[in-house]
């Protein structure tokens, strides 16, 4: 091969090298995707490991976000309670979904929300179907959204004897894994988890809950890395809640800040009925 031929290949290789920004975006995307679609398998993997990784510990982050929320939201007085979380959403694509199912176990994952979690590593959870045992849920009646917020309360999940035994084993094992968060992006995991909960609430029709989480975001995550997603979520939640005046303002803001965002389609879809009514 001539020198020119080799040089051309080398140049192509360099041109196709990802930039640091592209790799960072991919990393964030992986975390989010695993949180929304693959948290199950992540939890399974984590259970079989001795240490946690930034992706493998996604389930554990949900425990972290719970505690982080306790610390932050108490001062913000956002009406949430830490309680059991619903099963993680299943993988969207067929193949990954099948793979995830293949890894599932029947055991119920449970994590204790203790103050220790606030300063120690998240406890890896063993099963996908149950993923994290901590979540954000509203304590105020949707009919009375303006009620004074209650402070966050952390309570340990109820468990049967077997589960309690398993939980004790996990907690014991977690003690040896306290340093496992070394490779875990603490700044993104809790934020991704909170966003996931807000998104789940929105998909379940609880736009008020989604808005509450979105409202808490600036305080909880003042240096949010997922601003585009938060703003999109807020626009969609406002549309679903029927607050079209604010929704329009947020949508304009979103379109200005992220004119080529892939979320524009989702927002438009969420606000479809309002847009149709205006036409």
């Amino acid at each position: 091969m001539t020198d020119r031929a080799k040089e051309l290949l080398r140049q192509g290789r360099e041109a196709w090298q990802p930039t640091a920004q592209q790799k960072d975006a991919l990393r964030k995307k992986l975390v989010l995707a695993a949180a929304t679609a693959g948290a199950a398998s992540a939890a399974t993997l984590t259970a079989s490991t001795a240490k946690a990784s930034w992706l493998g510990s996604l389930a554990g982050w949900k425990a972290v976000v719970g505690v982080a929320t306790i610390a932050a939201v108490t001062s913000v007085a956002t009406p949430f309670v830490i309680s059991r979380m619903k099963p993680a959403e299943q993988a969207q694509s067929a193949t990954p979904a099948r793979q995830a199912r293949a890894h599932r176990t029947d055991s119920e994952p449970r994590a204790a929300a203790s103050s220790a979690l606030a300063v120690t590593a998240p406890t890896p959870l063993p099963s996908p179907s149950i993923a994290p045992a901590l979540a954000l849920e509203p304590t105020t009646s949707p009919a009375n959204p303006s009620a004074l917020p209650e402070p966050l309360v952390a309570h340990e999940t109820t468990a049967d004897t077997t589960a309690a035994h398993e939980g004790a084993q996990r907690r014991s094992a977690a003690g040896a894994r306290t340093s496992a968060t070394a490779g875990l992006p603490r700044d993104l995991g809790p934020e991704a988890s909170a966003l996931l909960r807000a998104n789940t609430a929105l998909r379940q029709g609880d736009s008020r809950m989604a808005l509450r989480i979105a409202d808490a975001q600036p305080t909880l995550f003042p240096r949010a890395q997922l601003r585009e997603e938060w703003l999109a979520l807020r626009a969609m939640a406002l549309c679903r809640a029927g607050d079209h005046a604010r929704a329009d303002a947020v949508r304009r803001q979103f379109a200005q800040r992220f004119p080529s965002s892939i979320h524009l389609v989702r927002i438009a879809r969420a606000c479809e009925s309002h847009d149709d009514a205006q036409r």
Binding site: K29, L55, P96, Q99, G183
Partner: protein
């Protein structure tokens, strides 16, 4: 860490270690060791820049889910290459069928209106020309050529990654190299004409 050592070890502090016989595999290490390689390869295989992120996300989620199943009968790089090649194939098929690969007309080799390559633009111009060449290859030849000539995988590694007979790999590689030699000769002629 070398590819070989990655296939059997790769343990670092803070990693997810998956039991693997006497050794362990770490997702973090697999990710760090292969993300650049997979990105480049996806681009070289024709995945558009705005689609490569999604494709690699899918690839790494598969890697993450299957890591504990990896039996170490091949190198990790070969394994992840196989995953990527399959995803790229599906990606291409899922998109609207493209028109026939264009002939390599002279004006596709070098854009006459483009400024002469300088420091930064040089690689981009070269990549555009190389992309035009790769687009003209058959899918099979392209995979073999990219993995061999750009990423320097061996023929047996490519055969394993693509689940192909090694002789078939050699055959495809020889054919692609012949095309490439012809392409470079034309490119040089064009460049010479332009600088004259």
């Amino acid at each position: 860490m070398s590819r070989a050592s990655l296939a059997v070890a790769g343990k670092q502090d803070g990693d997810t270690d998956v039991p693997h016989g006497d050794a362990t595999l770490s997702f973090d290490v697999v990710y760090e060791e292969n993300v650049d390689y997979l990105w480049r390869t996806a681009r070289a295989l024709g995945v558009a820049e705005d689609a490569v992120e999604d494709l690699l996300q899918e690839a790494f989620l598969i890697v993450h889910r299957r890591l504990h199943e990896f039996e170490g009968r091949s190198q990790v790089r070969t394994w992840v290459t196989g995953i990527l090649v399959n995803l790229v194939r599906n990606h291409r098929r899922s998109r609207a069928r493209r028109p026939e690969a264009p002939e390599l007309a002279d004006d596709q080799l070098v854009d006459e209106r483009a400024p002469k390559p300088d420091d930064h633009a040089d690689n981009e111009v070269a990549a555009r020309a190389l992309r035009a060449f790769l687009d003209a290859l058959s899918e099979e030849q392209r995979v073999v050529f990219v993995l061999s000539e750009i990423e320097e995988l061996s023929a047996p590694e490519i055969a394993t990654a693509t689940n192909t007979n090694v002789n078939t790999v050699y055959y495809r590689l020889a054919a692609a190299r012949k095309e490439y030699a012809s392409f470079v000769a034309r490119l040089r002629a064009k460049e010479t004409w332009r600088s004259a």
